[in-house]
Symmetry: C2
DNA sequence: ACCGACACTTTACGCCATAAGGAGTGGATG
DNA sequence: CATCCACTCCTTATGGCGTAAAGTGTCGGT
C-alpha cells in the first residue's frame, strides 16, 4: 500500500512561516489573489458556517473564483485548514505576570476560551500531529512564561500545560456545541429538554432510582435568567474547574 | 428558513433505552437484521477505519446489504452514531471505593482513557446536545459515586466532573491522533520530525531565541525506548496531569 | 516576436447521505 | 383459501464534496 505523503512538508511550513516578501516577477498573468486573502475569507466562512460549511467551492465563490482557482495558492484543503488554524491563533496575546501567576493563568485560560467561542471550528480541526505554526507556538511559549514562576520540573510542566489546554478546549467545545445546536435546530435548550423529558421518563421510569446522584445534581440548579441553561452550566463549570485546576497546580510546586 | 427537526426525539430515545422485547408479529417479510447487529457492525467498522471510513455503504456492505437497507432500522446516520456512541459506553464499569476516592478516581479516569483509545472515533462524535443514553448516563452516575465521599456542593461538583471528563478526553484525543497519524501516513514520529526539523530551522532560524522556554522544555526529554515519542509524551502528560487535577479536587473539599 | 510558465476555467470521477419509487414477502383479515 | 397491504430491500437519482485532468488565454523574459 502506498501512503499519501501528506503533501510536501517544506511547502506547508514555508507558508506557515512566510513573511511578506516582495512578489518576485514571474512570467505569466499576475496572481489576482493572495494566500492571505484566501485564508481570511476561509476563516470568515468557517466562523459563520463551521468547517462543515466551509468547502473549497464556497470559499472560491466568496472570492469570485471557482474552487479550483484556490489550488494555485494552496496545495489542498488540509493545507488551507492548517494555515487558517495558525492564522487565527495570532489573536491571542495573554502573557505572564511574574507577580501573580494565578491571575495570569486565569487570564490566559479565559482569553483562550473566548477565542474558541469566536472560532469554534478551530476545535473541530484535529491536528493529527502538531501543526508547528508560529502563532500557536507563541501561544504555548506564553503559557510557559505564565507558569515560569512555579519553576516546575519538565515532566510536570508538560503535564500541567497539556492539562490546562485540554481543560479549556473541552469546556469551550461543550459551550460551542450547545450554541451551535440552538442555532442549527432553532430549538432552545428548554424546548429541547421539554421535547425529551416526558419520553425519557416513560422509557426509563426508574431513572430517579437508577441514577440518584445525577438526578439530585440536576435538580439542584438555581433557575437561569436569560442565558440558555446548557450554556450557563458550561460557563459555570469552566470557572469552577479552572479554580480547581489552579489549586492542583499550586500544590504541584 | 426551515430547521430540520433533528428527527423524532421519541424514536431515538426509545432505541437508546430499548430492552430486548419480543419481536411483535407484523405483516410483511420478517426483518433479517436487527438494530443491534447494525450497531455492532458499525462499531467494528469505526474501530478499524474511524468515523471517516464508516459510511452507510460500508456498514451495509459488511452486512451483505445496500446502504439503503439500513434505513429501515435506523432513521439516519446521525441516529446510528448516537446509538453506537451509547452502546460502547456499556464497556465502562469503574465504580466508587468509599475508602479511597483518589484511587477510585484514578481508576475511573484510566479506564475511560483506555476506552477512548479502543474506540477513538467516539471522540470525533460531537454530541451537539447530550445524547441521554443509558450507558453514558451510568458512567456519569458512577463518577458521581466516586466523588461522593468528598461531599462537594453542587456547582463545584459539576465543575469537577466536567473537568475530569474533559481532561481525559483531551489527553486521549492527543494520543489517538498521534497513533492515527502514524498509521495513516506510514511515518513514525521520528521520521515525521526528521522531515520537518531542518526546514523549520531554516525558515525560523531564530526559533531558539524566540521561543526559549519551549525549546528548553523540548530538549529536556529522556530518550524514549520503543514507544513513539508523541505517544510517550501523551501518556506521561496524562499521568502527571491526573495527579495535579486530583490534588486540586482534594483542595476543593 | 515568440516561448513557456502561469492563473484560471470547465469537465469529470468517485465518494458521500439520502429521497423516491418499485418489487416481492407474508401475517392478518375476509 | 384469497386478498390486502404493511413491510423489507432494491435500484435509481439528486446534490453535495475534494480534486484530477486538460484546455484557454495572459504576459515577462529572451
Amino acid at each position: 500500500m502506498v501512503y499519501a505523503a501528506q503533501g510536501d512538508p517544506r511547502r506547508t511550513l514555508s507558508l506557515l512561516w512566510r513573511g511578506d516578501d516582495p512578489p518576485e516577477s514571474r512570467p505569466g498573468p499576475r496572481p489576482t489573489l493572495t494566500v492571505d486573502e484566501i485564508i481570511a475569507t476561509a476563516v470568515s466562512v468557517a466562523d459563520a458556517a463551521g468547517t462543515a460549511g466551509m468547502s473549497m467551492r464556497t470559499v472560491g465563490k466568496r472570492l469570485g473564483r471557482t474552487a479550483m482557482a484556490l489550488y494555485t495558492y494552496v496545495a489542498d484543503k488540509h493545507e488551507l485548514l492548517d494555515l487558517m488554524y495558525d492564522h487565527v491563533h495570532a489573536e491571542l496575546t495573554a502573557d505572564a505576570d511574574p507577580a501573580d501567576w494565578r491571575g495570569a493563568l486565569t487570564a490566559w485560560a479565559e482569553e483562550l476560551w473566548e477565542f474558541y467561542l469566536r472560532h469554534p471550528w478551530v476545535l473541530s480541526i484535529s491536528p493529527a500531529r502538531p501543526i508547528l505554526g508560529p502563532h500557536e507556538t507563541a501561544m504555548t511559549e506564553r503559557l510557559l512564561r505564565v507558569l515560569q514562576p512555579l519553576d516546575l520540573p519538565s515532566p510536570t510542566l508538560r503535564g500541567v500545560t497539556s492539562a490546562v489546554i485540554f481543560f479549556v478546549q473541552g469546556n469551550a467545545r461543550a459551550m460551542a456545541d450547545a450554541r451551535a445546536a440552538a442555532q442549527d435546530t432553532g430549538q432552545s435548550d428548554d424546548e429541547w429538554w421539554a421535547a425529551r423529558a416526558p419520553h425519557l421518563m416513560e422509557l426509563a421510569g426508574d431513572f430517579g432510582t437508577r441514577f440518584p446522584l445525577l438526578t439530585r445534581l440536576e435538580a439542584d440548579h438555581t433557575p437561569s435568567e436569560g442565558e440558555p441553561y446548557l450554556e450557563r452550566d458550561a460557563r459555570a463549570a469552566f470557572t469552577v474547574g479552572l479554580g480547581v485546576l489552579i489549586d492542583g497546580i499550586a500544590a504541584a510546586r
